[in-house]
């Protein structure tokens, strides 16, 4: 995937949204802290056979080298500030139970390893697909007896970041069959639905035009394996659901809420398009 920043490529791209970026350097390596290589390129899941996408790519590959570099060292990555906050919250008692996450779940490096990779996930007891944040909120209100955090806002994002880090390097592996299937199908429906005055679906940009430029922005496949992400623009964490809100808003539509059933379904569907890519823990994007 190209991350060429030569003037030629950029100015050519500005002339046309459909300008191709010849000379793409597909296969760049994302190695964190010099020793952990993350999978940023993988064969597309079987269900994507009719999409024209044979290979799935992490959004990291579409960014400029300056942005890429920040994710390659945990010290340089400001997202780790929030991971630290999440770690502290993990051990802090809350609510009427006066219990911390650790009181039930123990050492997160063991109990949370692999969790992020399988969410959103069917919850048998509740009879719904839950996002990771949905599950965190459930624990908080039902088990801790605490006030819910604001979905997709600072506190819960920090907790999601901390939990997500425990799965860094593991392949995304969300289930799309069985009881999750109807939710997954709902998510797929949303993915291909055109929204807003601009009448854009997720697929218009991220399936049909990835690796092209929309104005000066290099379109990725819209993968969410890297979420939560530290966005240099917002200088804070953004979740997949938060990004969906932003994307749909930018089509000039009324959006679903971040914690809506619709966006949880979409999160499951989009996550499944990244099955095989590494969970990046907390990624860095522009």
């Amino acid at each position: 995937m190209t991350r060429t920043t030569s003037k030629g490529v950029i100015s050519a791209a500005m002339l046309s949204v459909l300008a191709s970026t010849a000379g793409a350097e597909i296969g760049d390596k994302l190695v964190v802290n010099g020793d952990l290589e993350l999978t940023v390129e993988a064969p597309a899941p079987a269900f994507m056979a009719d999409t024209g996408i044979k290979t799935i790519y992490s959004g990291w590959l579409f960014r400029d080298p300056d942005t890429q570099k920040i994710e390659m060292d945990d010290f340089d990555n400001p997202g780790m500030l929030y991971v630290d906050q999440g770690a502290e919250m993990w051990n802090t008692p809350a609510g009427t139970s006066n219990k911390s996450c650790a009181d039930c779940h123990g050492d997160a490096t063991e109990t949370m390893a692999g969790v992020r990779a399988t969410y959103p996930k069917w919850n048998e007891a509740a009879g719904v697909v839950r996002s990771l944040q949905g599950q965190i909120e459930f624990c908080r209100t039902e088990h801790q007896g605490a006030e819910p955090w604001k979905y997709a806002k600072a506190e819960i994002n920090a907790m999601e970041a901390f939990i997500s880090m425990q799965s860094r390097g593991m392949p995304v592996n969300v289930a799309i069959d069985g009881p999750a299937q109807s939710t997954w199908e709902q998510g797929r429906e949303i993915y291909y639905t055109r929204y807003g005055q601009l009448e854009l679906s997720c697929a218009n940009c991220h399936e049909q035009n990835y690796d092209h430029y929309i104005r000066s922005d290099h379109l990725s496949q819209g993968q969410i394996n890297g979420f939560p992400v530290y966005r240099l623009k917002d200088t804070q964490l953004t979740t997949a659901s938060g990004r969906f809100v932003g994307c749909v808003r930018d089509t000039r539509a009324e959006t679903f809420k971040a914690d809506s059933a619709e966006f949880t379904a979409l999160e499951l569907y989009v996550a499944s398009r990244g099955n095989g890519l590494s969970v990046e823990g907390v990624s860095v994007r522009h």
Partner: protein, 139 residues
Amino acid sequence: MTYTRRTTFKLAFGATVLAALPFSARADAAEDAIAAFTGGATPGTEGITLTAPEIAENGNTVPIDVAAPGAVSILLLATGNPVPDAATFSFGPLAAAQAASTRIRLAKTQTVVAIAKMPDGSFVQASQEVKVTIGGCGG
């Protein structure tokens, strides 16, 4: 807010003119910041490096490296920002290199300037234009 004495003077006595000429006022702000640092001396161009992306994916977090071997201090300026001063690095006896890296905000495409004050009282300057791109969908 940091005002040099010169800009404070202008704000007091030239407010009307400045209000009518916002762009020249802004250019003046960068020039004034440079003059305040150099005392009006003309800087050389050797012995200082400024490394910044030619194109910044986002203007909110732009990585900048400055280095001027032997310098006493280095002033970093974002000439197109409402407040052009970005940082002044003063190096102590235990600085192993007169160099530093940071991340800055650029309000728009503009020239970033670094000026180093050398021990002999002379100044050296480097500059680079950084294009700040605008996201795809109004983002």
